[in-house]
């Protein structure tokens, strides 16, 4: 990066961090019972210093904060996974769910809800089962697409489609068999952050740290791989190893997000895409900027989901899809007439 490029990166990332901070405070302040933004900051400050909290501050810290943080983490994970998949497939319109993760997680969650059914077990069983479903799907898809130790990206896509359909059919089967659980399962799939806890925040934060730290060391390869596997190899990239690393990191990110939030569409597709349009394709900036943008977008989307029909909450997946779908169409039309 040239020095002017580095300046630009610092400015962009600084602005996004500031935006995220504002979104945090707004997300915690607004809701069924609005509180003053200053009160949010005060509650945070007191909590950090370990001081006793007022009942209102306790509500902020125990209910609002985990939710806002989880929203940010989920958005960051989805956007991060989106960037990685888009690089892996050399396609700016690739989606984190492209390999059937959504179907795998959906089946996992549906099974947990269908079997567990009652009580507190499902509180942990659902995310764990969804996570395992997501990871298992990617492992199977990657295994199908690998031949002679070479993972072919087109096969990966096709295998993802095939596996995804199969798993969706199984999920439908579960839905039919356990009709009494149907509404809970469907509601989970719509995506939401209602059940956010500090514990979930900690777990997802850990996965985000791992799933993001690794690719951050590989941003140069992420750029080079856009020239094609063959050229990347000629320039010294161990393409197969790199693809596995990226796939593993992206899958960890998307599985972590899906396990706690259900299926939230378009954040992982749109955010990196928009970031690329504005910032260009250099992953040294694109990856961190997309992750931060994803967090901001998700916090705001969750805020909208909570306040638009208050006191009734919308699943946040509806908000992101309603906003993201038309934007995606607009991008498609735009890329057909000019450059994407």
């Amino acid at each position: 990066m040239t020095s002017s490029g580095r300046m630009r990166a610092i400015v962009v990332l600084g602005a996004l961090v500031a935006a995220l901070a504002v979104a945090f405070v707004a997300g915690a302040a607004f809701g069924a019972v609005p509180v003053a933004p200053a009160e949010v900051v005060r509650a945070l400050a007191r909590a950090l210093r370990g001081l006793a909290l007022s009942p209102e501050q306790a509500v902020i810290m125990e209910l609002r904060m985990p939710r806002v943080l989880l929203a940010a983490l989920v958005g960051a994970c989805l956007a991060g996974a989106g960037v990685l998949y888009q690089a892996l497939f050399r396609n700016a319109l690739a989606d984190p769910y492209i390999l059937g993760v959504s179907s795998g997680a959906g089946l996992g969650a549906a099974l947990a809800l269908a079997i567990g059914g009652l009580g507190t077990i499902s509180l942990f069983a659902v995310p764990v089962s969804a996570f395992l479903g997501a990871m298992a799907t990617i492992v199977v898809v990657a295994a199908i697409a690998t031949r002679r130790r070479v993972m072919d990206t087109l096969s990966l896509l096709l295998a993802g489609v095939a596996v995804s359909y199969t798993l969706s059919a199984l999920t439908s089967f579960v839905l039919v068999v356990r009709r009494e659980q149907m509404s809970r399962i469907v509601f989970w799939m719509m995506g939401g952050l209602q059940a956010a806890t500090w514990q979930q925040v900690a777990i997802v934060a850990g996965m985000l740290a791992v799933g993001l730290a690794v690719p951050l060391f590989f941003t140069r390869e992420l750029n080079i791989i856009l020239l094609g596997d063959e050229r990347a190899g000629e320039l010294g990239v161990d393409v197969e190893r790199f693809k596995r690393i990226v796939l593993a990191a992206a899958s960890l990110l998307v599985s972590a997000a899906v396990s706690v939030s259900g299926l939230i569409g378009f954040v992982g597709l749109m955010t990196p895409h928009m970031a690329r349009l504005v910032l260009g394709p250099d992953h040294r900036l694109l990856l961190p900027a997309s992750v931060l943008s994803g967090a901001v977008v998700m916090v705001l989307a969750d805020l909208v989901a909570r306040v638009v029909l208050a006191p009734v909450e919308l699943p946040v997946g509806i908000v992101t899809a309603l906003a993201g779908g038309p934007v995606f169409v607009w991008l498609l039309l735009r890329s057909r007439t000019g450059r994407a």
């Binding site: 990066m1 050399r90 700016a92 060391f217 140069r220 390869e221 750029n223 080079i224 856009l226 020239l227 094609g228 063959e230 050229r231 190899g233 000629e234 320039l235 010294g236 990239v237 161990d238 393409v239 260009g280 394709p281 250099d282 450059r339």
Partner: protein, 415 residues
């Protein structure tokens, strides 16, 4: 700091071998060109060095080590590649694109150091791409992108350079510029293996050429020894005139006709009287049309003589600048007497070749006169004009346009 590229009895391919038992050595300081028809395996040979094609038997060695034993990053420090096409679907700035070539020489942590910046700047200067530095690569022309890709490869600071049709997208100026750069790099000790489709450029810039055809890599030799009309006919299925580049003196290939373009024989014998290149196009046309063509007396070095030779058209040979002797004239007359048709071109006639006209003088009824003989082309003091008009009076068929020559020849042959 110099490495040799060596193929040792190497069979390379993908699922099945494409080239079998290839043996070739590319030494530091030389450019070796690979030539051959499409699909023969030239690119496969190149790609086997970087592991994109498999080495199924034998060895491919860089600096004495089997390429399979290198880690990708180690190999990228030794071998630079300019592939046939490089996709550039994302809008990286050209300079960033070239900087990607430094990947193999940078540490995982940290950015470009001063050595990296220097190598990138040098590579862009050499390839005349410095001015493009800030242009997004997805807006560049194919030629600019090809030169940038070469810059990317050069920024690797390789010791072995593999070029797959390095000038396919380039205009004439940049073609020479890029090959001059490559020549310079070779002279400084780089080992260069290049796939060429342009045989003249191959002859001009390569020290040795090796033919790839029929699943084999033939032994490399100097361009003069490799670029023969026999090789061109056998390997490319093209009859060609092998000449000398008037500027560099290197071999120059002028394709005349594709072998399979020849129509089946019509069983009609045609004698062509021409010279000084007046009959070159005619000879090609008649041979392609399936006539059994013979030529009159032609001097060595004459354009018509070269074309006749490349087409296997028999003729009566004359020494360079030599004159027709009595026996040459009677040889032509003999051919004329057996020919079903005779085509006489409006070529320059002088004492040296006037015998051709005399030899066909009494076969006017079987003769086609192509074009009109101008007075200034008669260097035989009016004798050529006199013989020409005698043929006209004797009933020769006048043909003004070479495109209708087939019909004219058929007409006089059926008289």
């Amino acid at each position: 700091m110099s490495a040799t590229l060596r193929y040792r009895e190497a069979s390379v391919g993908y699922d099945a071998p494409v080239v079998l038992g290839a043996t070739l050595e590319v030494l530091p300081g030389e450019i070796v060109g690979l030539i051959g028809p499409n699909g023969a395996g030239k690119t496969t040979l190149v790609r086997s060095v970087t592991g994109e094609a498999r080495v199924m038997a034998g060895e491919v060695l860089v600096a004495g080590r089997d390429v399979a034993s290198y880690r990708r990053i180690e190999l990228a420090r030794l071998v630079g590649v300019l592939p046939q096409t490089v996709p550039a679907p994302f809008s990286f700035a050209a300079r960033q694109f070239v900087e990607m070539g430094r990947h193999a020489r940078m540490s995982r942590f940290g950015g470009l150091g001063s050595a990296d910046h220097a190598a990138v700047a040098r590579a862009m200067l050499l390839t005349d791409t410095t001015a493009l530095a800030d242009v997004p690569v997805d807006t560049l022309s194919g030629g600019d992108l090809q030169r940038l890709t070469l810059a990317q490869a050069l920024s690797q600071e390789p010791q072995v350079l593999l070029l797959d049709e390095p000038t396919s997208h380039l205009d004439l100026n940049h073609r020479l510029q890029v090959l001059d750069v490559v020549r310079g790099l070779a002279d400084d000790g780089m080992a260069v293996l290049a796939v060429f489709h342009d045989l003249d450029m191959a002859a001009r810039y390569a020290d040795r050429l090796a033919v790839v055809a029929d699943g084999r890599l033939f032994e490399a030799d100097t361009p003069d020894a490799v670029l023969t009309s026999r090789m061109l006919s056998d390997v490319f299925g093209v009859r060609a005139v092998i000449g000398a580049d008037p500027v560099t003196g290197t071999v120059q290939v002028l394709p005349v006709v594709r072998t399979q373009e020849r129509a089946p024989s019509r069983g009609v014998r045609v004698l062509v009287v021409s010279g000084s290149g007046a009959g070159a196009g005619l000879l090609r046309r008649l041979v392609v049309a399936g006539f059994d063509v013979e030529a009159g007396a032609l001097a060595r070095g004459d354009t018509d003589e070269k074309v006749a030779t490349s087409l296997d058209v028999p003729f009566v040979p004359l020494p360079p600048y030599g004159s027709m002797r009595a026996q040459d004239e009677s040889a032509v007359r003999d051919t004329a007497s057996h020919a079903d048709a005779i085509v006489v071109c409006a070529a320059p006639f002088g004492p040296a070749n006037l015998g051709n006209l005399r030899a066909v003088a009494r076969f006017a009824s079987r003769t086609v006169l192509l074009g009109t003989l101008a007075a200034e082309e008669d260097f035989a003091h009016g004798e050529a004009l006199r013989l020409w008009s005698a043929l006209q009076r004797g009933g020769a068929l006048q043909c003004e346009d070479v495109r209708s020559i087939t019909a004219c020849v058929e007409e006089v042959a059926s008289r």
